[in-house]
């Protein structure tokens, strides 16, 4: 039996459909454009004055893993302030900045999201990250596994191992951790921090005898040569430091024209000019993205209010701990792989630096020409909780709303930003690109993020409203894999979602040096380090879907 969706205005950038009336059918979990002869329509949704898009996809959101649990522990007041009562459909939970897993899934679905990707999965903590994601219902999930500060890779590089050996290791880690992408956080910097080094610039040799640039170059080549669809996902060096835009540009160059994704680039787009020695370099960064087709970025917009920052970047989190609000912080070194730093923050519009950070994020959104290469994120929860996305969309789509908000931030920050002069207003088509079509494309999810024939029936339908913040906050209908799960912004049915992965080919011989490494140095054995697809289903609780790599 089929469901018919008719009368709605469809935005499907993957198929260049920009606001066109189009009928869609849902048969089982797939979208069809024609009703098959042997099917009958059991239910019709007449969607006059509604907007139809694919389910939204968040490519960078910290929703699972040990660091999130540390953040939940440290944010008890926030958890208490935001309870989530349970009902017949939903488990109870709590939290705004770092919600409990069930609550996070409900909040995403209520906003029309159908897939979310955790960008910092430590290999040794991958089981926990996947379990937390498995307990995040409603949405599909996936993870980017952290490399670039792990002693095994750094040793390989220091010993000038061949690129193919490194490729085998990268592929092996993707298999072992059941992830879909590779993430680098402050390449070499987390490792250097373990040697009490407090800063590591892009061309500085680390205690491991390699430079961050070498690491970025090597890993971006590995990801490319393995055919992994998602480019190397890079949290660049010097996060949060005035003047860091230069190392961000150098990081882009380190990919040597191969695909590279710069994440939460707002935090890496700072100059050091002006009375405060802190200025916007959004123009330089946007220009670099515009002229460098191999580069994509998500913004990591900050929003004013209380949140908590969770990051693998121990070096820069420790640097920032004096700004903690409330005054508490956690820094942790982890298993010769990486680390994590967790620090609560309250971004204030009357703080010069916070106000300018806010403006810099918006300046980047508005100055990057191609919406296929800039993604809507707040680096949840680091810039702001993901529930602020509808507000962010309004800031992008409505210049007068944006300028009103700009007019009340710290006056010196206003003087240091040209945001008010920017006339661009994002269209619904562009929003659909940056929240649906482009994320699916950059992750290699061929049947997601669009409404084409045969696509997964993940569909979000909004009642057209002048106030786009309200519109995007509360869709009329959300279908997940063909099932109606949200109606008028409320969950009516809970579903689990799957885990998206890639499994590039590799030479199993890499397990010989890996076995020596585990036997000699690690406190877990190699067989127990690897997560199998069976374990994902039986113990962790999520079905694995493997997407093809480019050949």
């Amino acid at each position: 039996m089929a469901i018919k969706i008719t009368g709605g205005i469809v935005y499907d950038p993957t198929h260049q459909i920009d606001g066109k009336k189009l009928d869609l059918y849902i048969v089982n979990d797939r979208i069809l454009h024609q009703l098959p002869a042997d099917e009958k329509v059991k239910q019709t949704y007449n969607l006059k004055n509604h907007i139809v898009m694919a389910g939204a996809i968040d490519i960078h959101t910290h929703i699972g893993g040990g660091k999130v649990n540390i953040a939940r522990t440290m944010m008890l007041d926030d958890q208490i302030e935001y309870p989530q009562p349970g009902d017949d459909h939903r488990h109870t939970g709590c939290g705004h900045a770092v919600p409990s897993t069930f609550t996070a899934g409900y909040r995403y679905a209520e906003m029309g999201y159908t897939a979310c990707f955790e960008p910092a999965v430590l290999p040794v903590n991958a089981r926990q990250a996947h379990m937390e994601m498995a307990d995040t219902p409603m949405v599909d999930k996936g993870g980017y596994v952290l490399l670039g500060n792990d002693d095994f890779l750094l040793s390989l590089m220091h010993e000038s191992a061949s690129q193919s050996t490194i490729n085998d290791y990268v592929a092996w880690v993707l298999h072992a951790s059941q992830c879909i992408g590779i993430k680098v956080v402050n390449a070499g910097g987390i490792h250097a921090f373990k040697y009490n080094q407090r800063r590591l610039d892009i061309d500085e040799q680390s205690p491991a005898g390699v430079t961050p640039r070498d690491i970025i170059t090597t890993l971006s080549r590995a990801v490319h040569e393995l055919g992994v669809p998602h480019p190397l996902h890079v949290h660049a060096s010097n996060l949060g430091i005035a003047g860091n835009f230069k190392s961000t540009l150098a990081t882009m160059a380190a990919a040597e024209s191969l695909p590279i994704h710069l994440t939460h680039i707002q935090f890496h787009s700072y100059g050091n000019e002006g009375d405060y020695n802190f200025s916007s370099a959004a123009c330089e960064i946007a220009e670099a993205i515009n002229t460098t087709p191999n580069v994509t970025a998500d913004v990591g917009q900050i929003m004013f209010g209380q949140t908590i920052t969770t990051s693998g970047d121990t070096m820069m989190q420790y640097f920032g701990h004096e700004h903690a609000h409330p005054k508490k912080w956690t820094v942790m070194d982890i298993e010769c792989e990486a680390g994590c730093g967790v620090i609560p923050f309250r971004y204030r519009n009357k703080s010069f630096v916070n106000a300018l950070q806010w403006a810099i994020g918006l300046e980047i959104f508005l100055q990057v020409d191609d919406p296929w290469r800039v993604f809507l994120t707040t680096d949840h929860p680091n810039g702001a909780p993901f529930t602020t996305y509808p507000h962010l969309i309004k800031l992008l789509m409505n210049r007068s709303f944006r300028n009103d908000a700009f007019s009340i931030i710290h006056s010196d920050a206003q003087k240091m930003s040209n945001l008010a002069s920017m006339e661009r207003e994002y269209s619904l088509y562009e929003i659909a690109i940056m929240t649906r079509a482009a994320p699916a494309k950059i992750l290699g999810l061929s049947d997601h993020g669009h409404l084409g024939e045969g696509a997964s029936a993940n569909i979000t339908i909004y009642k057209k409203q002048d106030d786009v913040e309200q519109m995007f906050a509360k869709p009329s209908y959300v279908f997940k894999n063909g099932e109606l799960v949200v109606k008028d912004g409320s969950i009516i049915k809970t579903v689990r979602g799957v885990t998206h992965t890639v499994k590039p080919d590799f030479d199993i011989e890499i397990e010989k040096p890996l076995k020596r490494y585990f036997d000699d140095y690690q406190t877990i054995s190699l067989p127990n380090f690897k997560i199998s697809a069976d374990e994902m289903i039986e113990c962790i609780g999520s079905e694995v879907v493997t997407h093809p790599c480019r050949i």
Binding site: N69, P83, M332
Partner: protein, 418 residues
Amino acid sequence: MRFNHVTCPHCGLLCDDLSIEVNGASLKLASKAYPNCLKAFEDASFTTKRLPSPKVAGKKASLDAAIKKAAKLLAASSQPLISGLITDIQGCREAVLLAEKSKAVIDHANGKGMQANLAVMQRYGKVKTTLSEVRNRSDLVIIFGSQIFNRFPRLSDRVLFPKTSLGNEGTINKQIIVIDSSQAAKGSIPKRKGITYCPLEADSLDDIIHEFLQVVNLDSKRSNGNNLTNKLLEIKSTILQKQYTTIVWNTGLFNSASAEQTTQSLTFAMKSLMEDVRCVGLPLGGSKAEITANQVSTWSMGVPLPVAFMGGIPEHDPVIYNGENMLQNGEADTLVWLSTYSPDDLPPKTDARTIVIGHPKMKVPSSVDVFIPVGIPGVDHSGLACRTDSVATLPLQKIRDINLPASSKVLKQIADLV
């Protein structure tokens, strides 16, 4: 049949290099024997083909009947308490959902003991490290309490005395300082090169640690003829000369009434030292699955244990909802005791109706209303467990099939009926 790379969930270190010979229902540790793991696998072994049966009111019952009775007791309860939680992640996941469904309070058997580290994390955050990091990076390890060697016997071979290391010579031949109160019983400190035993003149480890914080923080704190202060000044000076110092503690060795303040002092000391050098903490614990249970509660409900669900939302209050106190004060009328790793982890004595989902060799008191023997995670079914450092999650293999149900399945069936 021999199974290798078996994980031992019987202390927080979760060593995963055990070999177990399985012959029917009988288990034998085939790798080097350490007391904790040896006993645990002996306890898990059956020499008879007769498996324990579920019991209702002390009489044999079918599994279905026991599950139905448990659900009935829970449904009739005005204030259930789910406790124990000495089990794997899957068991804890289902226990949390059962607590939610039955509007219970859920707490760990060692609820009070967990609070010191937790409260300090909540209020101040921490500086921490993990086992492999200590093994490879640390050139100085300071251990507060020699009894740690008794509680975590494999800390030595797994972490403190590596044959090889990713770091320099100093990380292989670590300097290890073991500090005790002079009044404490000396633990089983290995006789190895590099270990210095320091019994210090103080009433307790707690007093030593508070003085350590003073020594770290006050530049003006000079040698004063006090042996305790002088020794701690010496240790501070050593820390400042080393590359990577790890401080090891177990809150169970602190005075229970002041464990939180003591942990706080340690944390403050490490955060101060971090301004100049690397100095990190390795709290040891989790030997009764405390870390596992707490991680599950924190991610699924947003708050750590204990959690109360009476109001329809998760409420965390370690004082009001402490399970042990609730039972003592008669504030719970029905107890679900979940304990699957050892027959010795019995439910506390209580007047409350009691449902035990327990280790198959557990000899429960006759007052228990429902006893459901279940499989041992890592023996009778696969599972997952969290290590003491809260980072590594280890798989528990299924190595035997004698048809014992997993606690998670039993709990889910009960929840479906409540």
